[in-house]
Amino acid sequence: MGPLPNHIAFIMDGNRRYAKKLNLIDGAGHKVGFLAVTSMLKFCYELGVRNVTIYAFSIDNFKRSPEEVQSLMELMQEKIEGLIKDESIVNCYGVRVYFVGNLKLLSEPVRLAAERAMLATAKNSKAVLSICVAYTSTNEIVNAVEESVEEKIEHHESEPLIKLVDIEKHMYMAVAPDPDIIIRTSGEARLSNFLLWQSAFCYLYSPSVLWPEIGLRHFLWAILNFQRHHSYLNKKGEQLQHLLQDGF
């Protein structure tokens, strides 16, 4: 058996298209999408993939109609509260949950639910689930810069020299290593402001299946292709590491 990815990230695209395809009511696509999340998480943790990240709600998504935003917020709150229950998937697999993003942008009840969930799962240590909400990568980077600069000023450093390590430790996603694979469903091949920094060397997989329809075979295909490309990365990664190290 080849190397296993340590971290898989998902851009769960296609819920609304799925709902349209099946003539479901508005919002139903997202509910079915949540079932796909649960099954993907099971595959990951069963296989031994320790870190999973999902792009649940982008800061850009606030641009959608107030009704859709509201229904998404309600769905999120419901599902977050479900996470804390004993029989939930995160407790079965010992998963520690992080909510990653600019949480101040969330409505109060959702934010509080998120904080409760993070507290409740803080002792879990077998695996990690990072749920990106109110997140964009550019916002994450700006926040990291602000915090780095502020830290340098507070310590009265005469030369506030920002280094790679400063930025990385202030990233919301510092709770997990860089992803090995990013899977975006429904055939769209773009990152939509997700993990831009962390995806520098990551394998990008873009199956045409809609998110609610994603299944085991797509998951396995991603793993196989990751393994196929893995040796390439080791070679190239060394070359590129030199570029990185020299600059910092």
Binding site: S65, T138, V142, E146, P160, A189, A200, L204
Partner: protein, 297 residues
């Protein structure tokens, strides 16, 4: 037998068709299964004669040609900024038992053709990523060629401090000489690291805060954008990224700037990437719906 249309005492090398080994196709991969026969001159002399043709006839790809677009493409929906990761030169050479310099030379040919097409079809900025500056086998010749194109602005991003000093000077002079040109901009990424670009932008911002030019509260995405090395252009964000030779990753090329870029990964190696492949990429790009996180229209 195809020829370059140039009298040459050196025999041309016919490159055989190489069909893709079968790989499951997803929407990401190019649907081209036939590639035109291309004649690659294996000698520098023939390539030099081709440059003479450009300078003697005063032909400029950028001069006011509104060449008809291939069927299916619309001028209005053209990407303003195209980025390319030119991967596969070395593999191309190895497959033919040629030294890697031949691969890089063939790669330069692909790049020249792409620049020509971008100019003709109204693309304003082309950013190219060469994995190493080995790709520039005859830098002076290439820079001279670029400078001969009317209205083209040349910019270089990345860490050129490791390059030989005469090449650094060549680059600086070319940037200076072309900086007022506005028909088309070619940005060449040499020893470029997307992560380092963001770090140096942050360093710049930290310095400005220290000097009191900027308040901590003023730090936002616009400020970061202004500090990135792509601040040499009005269109820093590529609409379309093409990567050749089948690798499905960004490899630390532009990172911040690719936030909403459409990716198009293709199987052909860079020297085999030509007009047909570029039309495929543009056609797929124009079909895609760009929502920027909002709702479908």
């Amino acid at each position: 037998m195809l020829s370059l249309g140039v009298n040459s005492p050196i025999p041309n090398t016919l490159v055989p068709l190489i069909l893709n080994p079968s790989r499951p196709k997803t929407r990401l991969f190019s649907s081209v299964s036939l590639r035109k026969l291309r004649v690659k001159a294996s000698s520098a002399e023939v390539a030099f004669k081709e440059e003479e043709k450009y300078s003697n006839e005063g032909v400029s790809p950028t001069r006011g040609l509104s060449e008809e677009l291939p069927p299916g493409l619309s001028r209005e929906a053209m990407p303003k900024h195209v980025a390319v990761i030119m991967d596969g030169n070395a593999r191309w050479a190895r497959q033919r038992g040629l030294p890697s310099s031949e691969g890089h030379q063939a790669g330069v040919q692909s790049l020249r053709e792409l620049i020509e097409l971008c100019c003709k079809w109204g693309i304003k900025v082309l950013t190219v990523f060469a994995f190493s500056y080995d790709n520039w086998v005859r830098p002076k010749v290439e820079v001279d060629f670029l400078m001969s194109l009317e209205g083209i602005r040349i910019s270089v991003i990345g860490d050129s401090s490791k390059l030989p000093t005469n090449l650094q000077k060549l680059i600086r002079d070319a940037e200076e000489a072309t900086k007022e040109n506005s028909n088309f901009q070619l940005i060449v990424a040499v020893s470029y690291s997307g992560k380092y670009d963001i770090i140096q932008a942050c360093k710049g911002i930290a310095q400005k805060v220290k000097e009191g030019v900027v308040e901590l509260d003023d730090i936002d995405e616009t400020l970061v954008e202004q500090e990135l090395e792509t601040n040499c252009t009005d269109h820093p964000y590529p609409d379309l990224l093409i990567r050749t030779s089948g690798e499905l990753r960004v490899s630390n090329f532009l990172l911040w700037q690719l936030a909403y870029t459409e990716f198009f990964f293709v199987q052909p190696l860079w020297p085999d990437f030509g007009k047909d492949e570029f039309v495929d990429a543009l056609t797929a790009f124009q079909k895609r719906q760009r929502r920027y996180g909002g709702r479908d229209s």
